[in-house]
């Protein structure tokens, strides 16, 4: 008899699905899932690796249970391709039922996931991408990295006040590069400086030679540089090859170019470059020394600013959970994160309650040799810098 068999099967299937239905919420109360979407392959892979490392380190140090919840991180690689980010975010939210999506190596990736965070009403924690507009794209976005405006305006102010009059700019032609350029220009010219040459370099640029020659011929006091993290090394080598260091043209810029991750491989060409940024592995606080030592021990590498963005990101999730007493509701978590203040390896930071963006100290640093290794040594501090990309509006 075929019919009873069928119904028996249906009954079994039904029982299973019922069991599944009941077991899911029961399970979800115990684990708090973080969907971590970062580039682990492709040109931006070092960003993803640093963030992943930092989160692993934090969870090793602080344990994986907070406010009665077991924290589970689901790591996904989007290769910094926005289409992937969106698809992965959707899968994580719908299938894995994550409580938070986090990571986001580049701006387009963060923007691609923003509508999903709004729709699902879950926090989207940006740990890397640095364009100003990101936090405005969803009321559920909180950022623990930085904005380019923060470091670019500060270096513009600093340059204008420290005897640099004529600057040539060399920036990569994409959103963060243009952001960096515009904010620098705005503050530098307001302070009385002059831009003598402006060159935008294509993002996939093999050889800096012609652009550097142009810089050299315009004879500026300094050149303002923003290139994506990976290209910084090539840039500095060719800068030295062309003898720009000897002709007295200083390199200034936001600190991305002098990422701790790459700095030591750049060679002595990088010595003396002055940049403004949120983090240096040489930041002289007890907490940072401990952080750098633990990171080096675990991963045999120096942490960079991306690692700190990840470290603070996971810390923010832990603290928000403590504050809500284990409530995992997205709105409650966002409320808890707003205005949160804490001491990070980079120094004191907080989340601006109005913009959900990070407020942090920006340090002016100079590349120097410490114990035979190159470090960004901080020598001036601008305290509690907000994202001027938004405050100006």
């Amino acid at each position: 008899m075929p019919t009873p068999t069928l119904s028996r099967r249906a009954a079994v299937a039904g029982a299973f699905s019922l069991a599944a239905l009941f077991s899911v919420p029961a399970h979800a109360q115990e684990t708090f899932k973080i969907g971590l979407i970062v580039p682990m392959t492709g040109g931006q892979a070092s960003t993803g690796k640093q963030i992943d490392n930092a989160i692993k380190l934090y969870m090793q140090q602080k344990g994986d249970t907070v406010a009665g919840k077991k924290i589970e991180v689901i790591l996904k690689d989007d290769g910094a391709v926005p289409d992937n980010t969106k698809r992965i975010a959707q899968e994580l939210i719908v299938n894995d039922k994550v409580n938070v999506i986090a990571g986001f190596g580049v701006t387009p990736a963060a923007l691609a996931a923003a509508p999903l965070a709004t729709q699902a009403k879950i926090p989207q924690l940006v740990m890397a991408a640095g364009t100003s507009i990101i936090t405005e794209r969803s009321p559920y976005i909180v950022r623990t990295s930085f904005t380019l405006a923060q470091s670019s305006t500060i270096i513009g102010d600093w340059a204008a006040k420290n005897g640099i009059k004529r600057v040539a700019t060399l920036t990569s032609d994409y959103a963060p590069g243009n952001d960096a350029l515009n904010f620098f220009k705005q503050n530098f010219t307001a302070g009385g400086g002059e831009i003598v040459e402006e060159v935008k370099v294509p993002l996939q640029n093999p050889d800096f030679a012609p652009f550097l020659q142009r810089m050299k011929d315009s004879k500026p006091d300094a050149m303002f540089v923003f290139v994506p993290a990976g290209q910084g090394g090539n840039f500095m080598k060719q800068y030295a090859e062309r003898g720009l260091d000897k002709s007295g043209i200083k390199v200034i810029g936001p600190g991305d170019v002098m990422d701790d991750d790459l700095l030591n491989n750049m060679g002595d060409a990088a010595l003396g470059a002055v940049t403004a940024h949120l983090y240096s592995a040489a930041h002289p606080s007890a907490m940072n020394k401990e952080f750098v030592a633990a990171y080096k021990k675990a991963f045999n590498n120096r942490p960079g600013f991306m690692a700190v963005g990840g470290y603070d990101g996971i810390h923010l999730i832990y603290e928000a959970l403590k504050k809500t007493g284990g409530k995992t509701d997205g709105d409650a978590l966002i409320e808890a994160m707003k205005g949160m203040k804490w001491e990070s390896p980079r120094g004191p930071i907080s989340i601006d309650p109005e913009t959900r963006d990070i407020v942090q100290n920006i340090y002016i640093r100079k590349v120097e040799k410490v114990d035979g290794e190159l470090y960004n040594v901080e020598f001036a501090t601008f305290e509690a810098v907000k994202d001027s990309g938004k405050t100006k509006k």
Binding site: T41, G42, G43, A45, S46, K49, V199, K200, V201, P202, Q204, N205, P206, D207, A209, P210, F211, Q213, R214, D217, G230, Q231, G233, N234, K237, Q238, A240, E241, R242, G243, D261, L262, N265, M266, G267
Partner: protein
């Protein structure tokens, strides 16, 4: 005025580099009629071999360069015997799919072994910096590239045109059946040529790390440049790709210097104009195949 010469010099160095990187492809694509999009992977292999030897093993740079050639050539020879030769008679689409697959595998493998960040080769101090020659800034490293690549080009041309091996190769390409009939070991000639082309790419990869940057995505990033060199130059000789490389190198550098806003487009515009004017490239044979 002297800037013009500096630009010209940089352009020539860049062009020479493109030539060494791409001439192996000109040989496989043009002479052996095999579409090998994995060419850049051999260049990358050479670059990484040189980097590991110099940075971790403490070899001098000039000793590591020949080894970059040898290792890439050996990898090329091994792959040719194991994989490539089965595809000589297949359609171009099969060859493209196969070699693109190989490229992606090489990218993933290098990423896994060496990490994804850019690496640099520690250069001897003698190669760093610039010196002034009648007011023209000459980069030492770039001068070395021009010298090495110039010598290679002359040597290649002589081998192809004057030696017995060169005439065997040309015979094997023009009519493999007749060549076999005359007692030329065609598969062996092809294998040797292929390996030599890979070795050149490896040398180019080692030389280019300083200027183009070396990371696991090298084969994908520069595939387009190699193909431009070969298509613009035509594939009947190595003179074509050589002149094409110089033209593209100088054109690219000059355009980026004088019109930075338009710079990146110029190299492609040159390619389109030349291909409309001469669809088979500058020195292409006219529709022989």
């Amino acid at each position: 005025m002297t800037t013009v010469f500096t630009i010209l010099f940089d352009g020539v160095a860049y062009g020479m580099l493109l030539f060494v990187l791409a001439c192996g492809l000109a040989v496989t694509l043009g002479l052996m009629n095999f579409v090998n999009l994995a060419h850049g992977a051999f260049a990358m292999a050479g670059g990484y071999v040189c980097a590991v030897l110099v940075n971790s093993q403490g070899w001098p740079f000039f000793a590591a360069l020949p080894l970059a050639f040898v290792v890439s050539a050996a990898i090329g020879a091994a792959l040719e015997r194991m994989l490539y030769r089965h595809l000589y008679t297949r359609s171009h689409l099969d060859q493209v799919l196969f070699s693109v697959g190989l490229t992606f595998m090489s990218v993933a493998a290098v990423d896994y072994i060496m990490g994804s960040s850019r690496i640099f080769i520690k250069l001897p101090a003698a190669l760093e910096g610039q010196f002034d020659l009648f007011g023209v800034g000459i980069g030492r490293y770039r001068l070395m590239i021009i010298v090495i690549c110039g010598l290679l080009t002359v040597a290649l041309q002589l081998i192809l045109a004057r030696t017995r091996f060169g005439s065997r190769l040309r015979a094997a390409v023009d009519d493999p059946r007749a060549a076999i009939g005359l007692g030329i070991n065609v598969p062996q000639v092809f294998a040797f040529t292929f390996a030599f082309g890979c070795g050149l790419a490896g040398l180019g990869g080692a030389l280019s790390a300083e200027i183009l940057g070396l990371d696991p995505y090298f084969p994908l990033k520069f595939m387009i440049y190699f193909l431009i060199v070969v298509t613009v130059g035509g594939s009947s000789s190595i003179t074509g790709p050589f002149l094409a490389s110089l033209l593209l190198g100088i054109g690219d550098v000059a355009a980026k210097y004088y019109v930075p806003k338009m710079g990146p487009f110029v190299i492609y515009t040159i390619m389109i104009v030349i291909l409309i004017w001469r669809p088979n490239g500058l020195f292409g044979r006219s529709a022989a195949r």
